[in-house]
């Protein structure tokens, strides 16, 4: 069995929001202006409202309010706003996943906490593409949702074993399937034709040193996942904090002094972001 077998036949394969393709098309067209991109986003009123709430939140802390999408595009950049737009639409893609074992609410709370932490790491490292990290971290566990939907018996057994034997889930998945949920998530992103960098972050978040030239991004997601599990924000079914890969920590080159600032930053942004993404 391989990860592609698992996503074959998944109802999620065909559920990527149309607006994403429209945004991508207009961004990739060299003749497009900010106004063209803004028009596509404005066409989806709930999307544009959510995006405006995000750019006006503590997430950015701009000194004065941003009232239009074209203003947001000019300040944040089209790629970054596209990544945010995709992030906000993802929760609806996974509506209806069975919740006996993991509530979708706490699943996304964990994912969003991880996304905020990964973005903060990117900012600390002066990475120009922080919203890509946000999106990658937000999607890091979607493979679990695919497994819950398509291999429920196996994954329930794994969750139960994790709980009773205090074991780390992705290691149990590897024993059982020969790969972990990161690989399944990456297979889905590839099937959706999303950027390879995104798939790499998701695929290697438990094994960042295997990510080749994506090692820095994968290490950021790996560390963010570790950190927000320690913060106990939401849950993706893992009852324990996994080990931190020491080599990944070296790759990031962060100081331990950063962690206190990171804790308070995630703590201060999380509720607002959860509110916008889950209830906005």
């Amino acid at each position: 069995m391989n990860p592609e077998d698992i996503i074959q036949g998944s109802v999620r394969l065909s559920s990527l929001p149309v607006v994403y393709f429209k945004i991508n098309e207009v961004i990739n067209n060299p003749d497009s202006s900010f106004e063209d991109v803004a028009n596509v986003i404005n066409h989806d009123s709930s999307l544009s409202a959510r995006l405006l709430r995000i750019v006006n939140s503590s997430f950015y802390n701009f000194p004065s309010p941003i009232e239009t999408i074209s203003h947001a595009l000019s300040i944040i950049g089209t790629q970054q706003l596209r990544d945010l737009a995709l992030a906000t639409t993802f929760i609806s893609v996974f509506r209806g996943v069975p919740e006996q074992w993991i509530s979708m609410n706490s699943f996304w709370r964990h994912s969003l906490a991880c996304a905020i932490a990964a973005r903060a790491v990117g900012m600390e490292l002066r990475d120009g593409n922080t919203e890509k990290l946000f999106l990658g971290a937000m999607l890091h566990d979607i493979g679990k949702l695919i497994l819950l939907e398509n291999r429920p018996d196996s994954i329930w057994g794994i969750l139960e074993q994790g709980r009773t034997e205090n074991k780390i889930l992705h290691l149990l998945e590897r024993e059982h399937f020969g790969f972990n949920h990161g690989h399944v998530g990456a297979a889905l992103l590839q099937a959706w034709n999303l950027p390879e960098s995104l798939a790499a972050m998701v695929q290697f978040h438990h094994d960042p040193m295997a990510a080749g030239d994506r090692v820095q991004e994968a290490a950021a997601i790996h560390f963010a996942d570790f950190f927000v599990k320690a913060m106990e924000l939401g849950s993706s079914g893992d009852p324990l904090v996994p080990p931190l890969n020491p080599e990944a920590w070296e790759v990031l080159g962060l100081s331990t002094g950063f962690l206190e600032r990171l804790w308070s930053r995630v703590d201060s942004q999380w509720r607002e972001i959860v509110d916008i993404f889950l209830f906005g």
Partner: protein, 116 residues
């Protein structure tokens, strides 16, 4: 952590524990770096000794001065369970566990304060 006499203090040293004056007011927090000004302030306040970090030593938040010992040991036990599969000897993991304990202590203190 070493106890240094006033005459031994030099700018750049890091304070290992909160410094209080004789009235019990905090005048410098643990982790602060000494300056000429803070050393002069100690003189004015009649502070004779200050705990400072030894060379290469890191401030331990986990000593949690003033915390209720029973509460602290409960929270430590929770941390032991939550991090039992983690590499607890890694500096970043240690720091994260310290933060976890600090945060839990703050939470339980503010819950109590809210209850009155």
């Amino acid at each position: 952590m070493v106890l240094a006499k006033l005459s031994q203090l030099k700018p750049g040293m890091v304070v290992a524990a909160d410094v209080f004056n004789l009235d019990g007011q905090k005048i410098l927090s643990a982790g602060a770096t000494l300056t000429e000004r803070s050393i002069n302030l100690f003189k004015e306040w009649g502070i004779l000794e200050v705990e400072i970090l030894a060379a290469g030593e890191k401030l331990s938040r986990a000593s949690h001065p003033g915390a209720d010992p029973e509460k602290l040991s409960q929270i430590r036990a929770t941390a032991d369970r939550l991090f039992c599969r983690s590499n607890r000897d890694h500096p970043a993991v240690k720091e994260t566990i310290d933060l976890f304990i600090t945060h839990r202590l703050n939470q339980s203190n503010s819950n109590e304060a809210g209850g009155h």
